[in-house]
Chain length 419, copies 2
């Protein structure tokens, strides 16, 4: 575990308001870590809707398969009601075979008893080591106690309990009007390695008191992740456990918030934007806490033939070890950016390329910018946030991806994670 907080951690941590219908509690169940919490129970009021998006890994974890099944086949929004969310850190319950399935069933059974609901209304997520059996009996007793002590104001504790190699808890909140009522959106997330689309987070949970059907919630997630969680990458590795769940208690209906049953409902517009902003905020925090990260890197590709092509090129740059180590070394090595554009396999014309770092153009028309000034560029490379902008000059495709640099600390963290 890293003990030093990322230098890129946000300095303003929001006060997280309560959300009617959501209670949280955490405990140290001794899954793996010593001296810290490692299990979160969220208890939701009856009628809370749920939606989720998950890793595209062909080898998903047992909890991912559990959640998918409870949401309906393929993650669609059939079913879609939730009363409890159980998250543990320290063990991902991934690649654990039959034992893994038994562990999810046992965890859900314990939670359903603790919360007095059906096991079908229990959602699960696990993060940590892969391939080690998860001893779900450790939740016995613990979840019952948590259900009793759960309270509306434990957001930071919750965000802390789900951390693995994260160096800071990640939360975001927004308040927005739905109809004439004020509704709240709270979210939390954890990174910090094995982060690449799709999904590009390991675990994230978003809660709102807005009265949204699970179909609406699913639609908000689907459109919301594209340029947030799916547009960040730490190391190109995709977790078997990536899970983003959203819960809507609907409790704001009592203060007059309208029930929204269609994603096209015009009253949803401001809410959708706020919801997206919460996802974007959390996703950026994940990038800011990439393992060993010392710099936040924003890659913007414009002038590509299509948006999809721009995304592919941006990801090629953002995942290039040579680009990322150059940034770590504060070296404006734009040649490596050219390399990463070239290897993406997407349409690119070397002689039309322009590249800039933090607004200073270093290359244009396939060669070094005539006005290139090494000292000036070296200076901006010292910034904790580096923007790499590549203009391809071919079309109107544009996209943006967030990543971080690749440092010796990343290697240290990941060369010594299990032991």
């Amino acid at each position: 575990m890293s003990t030093t907080v990322s230098p890129l951690a946000p300095t303003d941590v929001p006060a997280m308001p309560a959300i009617a219908g959501v209670k949280l509690a955490t405990a140290a169940a001794g899954i793996r870590y010593k001296g810290r919490t490692d299990v979160l129970l969220a208890v939701m009021d009856k009628g809370t809707t749920v939606a989720g998006v998950f890793t595209k890994s062909k080898c998903p974890s047992a909890p991912v398969e559990w959640c998918r099944a409870k949401l309906g086949r393929g993650g669609s929004s059939k079913g879609g009601f939730a009363r409890a969310l159980v998250v543990n850190s320290g063990n991902a319950n991934a690649f654990t075979g039959k034992t893994g399935r038994q562990a999810t069933a046992l965890t859900a059974a314990i939670a359903s008893k603790a919360v007095s609901c059906s096991a079908n209304e229990v959602f699960l997520a696990s993060t940590g080591v892969i391939g080690e059996p998860l001893d779900a009996t450790k939740f016995d007793g613990v979840l019952a106690t948590l259900a009793e002590t759960a309270a509306p104001d434990h957001w930071m504790d919750a965000a802390r309990a789900i951390m693995t190699t994260d160096t800071f808890p990640k939360v975001a909140t927004a308040t927005v009007k739905l109809g004439k009522a004020k509704v709240t959106i709270n979210g939390m997330a954890k990174g910090a390695g094995m982060i690449a689309p799709d999904m590009a987070t390991m675990l994230s949970f978003v809660f709102t008191d807005a009265p949204l059907s699970s179909a609406v919630l699913q639609s908000l997630l689907k459109s919301g992740v594209e340029d947030t969680f799916n547009a960040i990458t730490i190391d190109s590795d995709t977790s078997t456990s990536d899970t983003l769940l959203a819960f809507a208690t609907g409790t704001a209906a009592v203060s007059g918030a309208p029930k929204i049953g269609r994603a096209s409902d015009p009253r949803l517009k401001a809410f959708a934007k706020a919801f997206h902003d919460v996802l974007a905020n959390l996703a950026e925090q994940v990038a800011r806490d990439g393992e060993g990260a010392r710099k936040l890197v924003e890659v913007i590709v414009e002038g590509a033939t299509t948006k999809a092509s721009a995304r592919k090129i941006a990801m090629s740059i953002a995942n290039s070890p040579l680009v990322k180590t150059a940034i770590a070394g504060e070296d404006a090595n734009w040649g490596r950016v050219v390399m990463a554009v070239g290897k993406a396999g997407e349409p690119a014309n070397r002689d039309k390329l322009s590249i800039s770092f933090n607004g200073i153009r270093v290359a244009r028309s396939g060669a070094r910018d005539p006005s290139y000034n090494e000292a000036e560029v070296s200076e901006v490379m010292k910034s904790p946030k580096i923007q790499i902008k590549v203009a391809l000059g071919l079309g109107k495709g544009r996209d943006r991806v967030l990543t971080c640099d690749l440092t010796k600390e990343y290697v240290a963290i990941n060369g010594d994670y299990r032991s």
Copy 2:
């Protein structure tokens, strides 16, 4: 520049025999480095055939474009005669725009004058920093002197002159019968980062005295690279300069070697195998000298639906920063191997997967092997060569890829390369 030789360097360096019709010379032209050679001139007899394969980057270097043009469109074997090869290290002459094209033309002009041949018979390769103009006037005088002093016995010097971050020169040789005559194949290569298919080397040059048409040579290269240079990866980054050229002087014809004009000629069989072995030997040396490498990693995937699918999964494992850092940490973290299988997007059934490290099975049927013994596995992870074998249990597709671990030294080397 790294000064410590890779611990994975071969202990037996072959004595490189002369090849009639090939003379070599090196010099310190002061391209970038101080106190070392950085330019190689190979002079070949009239009638020497040539073939080549190159980077698939969309932003290739000026020398790659030069060679492609001289070989005929798209690297086919039209044209296909060579009298001189000029290679420089220190500057890749890549992304240098019009200046880059001028530099290749000037270099070729200087070389053609020095060797008394057409510029169309001059082949060029450059390696080093991208995006900096290459001052080809530095070759003026130097190449003429080299042409005069070129001799058949400078193979190790040649291999040294083309190095960048390589920690040892890479050569290989084979002697084989062609008809009743003995023919020789000599090769050299340089790595050591920005290595991923296709091509998976930065620069490699192979010479033989066998009388082969350029079409035969091209065919040998094309089939030879597939499981050699295209099956290694250091960091998933693909150079803009990757070049593999083969030259056949045909001088062995005087000792009775038959002229081979068709790749299907049965007399070519033993030669083709020896040629392939030289490529495989060089490719493995590139992996053994991956930047910061402390362990050679062989990834074998079997039981995939197809060979292509096996290759994709093997590359996903070999390029995973999390797998590579685990190997660096001597940690048998097979969970990360599962992750890398899962993210490859190829058919895989988690519950049929088996994984072993150096012959010790750690996972089978989607869970930890019942006979798993942490101490035993930890012991084999200390080996300088790690074999990761993944059995998918789906079909007969099998493939093999070589890579190395990801260490702090890789980050150090690449965070501080330009400065």
